[in-house]
Assembly symmetry: C2
Homo-oligomer: 226 residues x 2
Amino acid sequence: MRRLCEAGGLRPAEIEVVAALVSSRRRLERGARLLDAGDPCAALFAIRSGSVKSTARMADGREQVTGFYLAGDLLGLEGLALRTHLRELVALEDSELCVVRRGDLEALLGRLPRLHAELHALMGRELVRAQGTSLALGSLAADERVAAFVVGLSRRLRERGRDGAALVLPMTRAEIGSFLGLQLETVSRIFSRLHGEGILEVKRQVVTIRDGERLERLAARCEALL
Amino acid sequence: MRRLCEAGGLRPAEIEVVAALVSSRRRLERGARLLDAGDPCAALFAIRSGSVKSTARMADGREQVTGFYLAGDLLGLEGLALRTHLRELVALEDSELCVVRRGDLEALLGRLPRLHAELHALMGRELVRAQGTSLALGSLAADERVAAFVVGLSRRLRERGRDGAALVLPMTRAEIGSFLGLQLETVSRIFSRLHGEGILEVKRQVVTIRDGERLERLAARCEALL
DNA sequence: CGTACTATTGAAAAATCTCAAGCGTTGTGG
DNA sequence: CCACAACGCTTGAGATTTTTCAATAGTACG
């Protein structure tokens, strides 16, 4: 039961609770939308396998990626706080999710004050992550952003027990660029440059870290992105 | 008692509770540090008068402004969630704060579940604000950022019953630039340009909105900054 | 009155974007 | 199974935006 959702990103106590709350599963095909901005928050989701992007639609209609989520991540936390989801969630590849109904979770919150604190901490971490993104976009050069992105992705995969050196990117260059505040061509050029310098091996979706030391040095100015 | 801290940014229910919790006041001179990154979270603060900037120190020692807070704002929310403050808080002008001890607040949380939900909502809003900043830094041109900043400041002042057209900026161009991911010269140039176009009147610290319509149109691509 | 700080402005340099073309993959229908 | 269409990636060249460096000026404060 504990590993029901492979909720690797959560702490033991949280895994236990969340796992017990899972009311159903849901499959999403690549490109399928899990929910829209403005939807009332009926449930939260944990990614069992696959990956998801969260996007915001700006006033002029264009959309920007606000985050990438991997297997083990919990989705929709702002919805819990605000009663309404604010971002669109779209699967980057065929994915499987665990559904946690909001009502179930809130009922449990009343009985388990410690869980409340855990949720606070999770939200606090999301907040810090979002501020970290602002910092990166505000003060890092394009190559530093890309480096920080790769470092962050690698780190998160390693935390979940997966290979942190051979990355298979589930998102396109355009999506990376949107997240990093860059054009897709710029992202591509920087991958090529890092390849040329022997820091990365880049083959379309497959990025291999060749010189982690130099990569980290490039990204050093910020707590890793993602 | 209700208006003890002029907590104009909070809702009635929150004002009441927070007001009752204030354990003391604290004066800060311009430039004085309220707390450092890494400090254990012993208390939260509400601004009674004045204004405060929150800054993050990056790995290379440089610092970036992560937010500006005005009279009525609540400071240090991430500290509540994470037990540790992550940002430096510095007064932008002589200010007066209300101190809410963390222990007092948490004791009350146990007895008032509704307050818990209120805090969740507050954190959710902070999260959305931070994501909004990322969006702006990622996709807005320099003049749009400055416009969004002015619009946001104006809006927040109006919400608190103050004049939304004649702004007295408590922060320097460098601080605005740091927050917006721009150089101080760029901020200055854009103020000058908006002045030249009759959108703003700019006299050092004093910025007056002359053509709110066009200003909003410039900022229209994002939910206002700040 | 002078010193320190903040703001403005100009000119040149650098980073990034835009537009454009071409290539490699993948998937689909004949 | 092949051809082709669609999509994503790469690369180049020129345009644009923003930064950097430098000089000047206004303001506050001792």
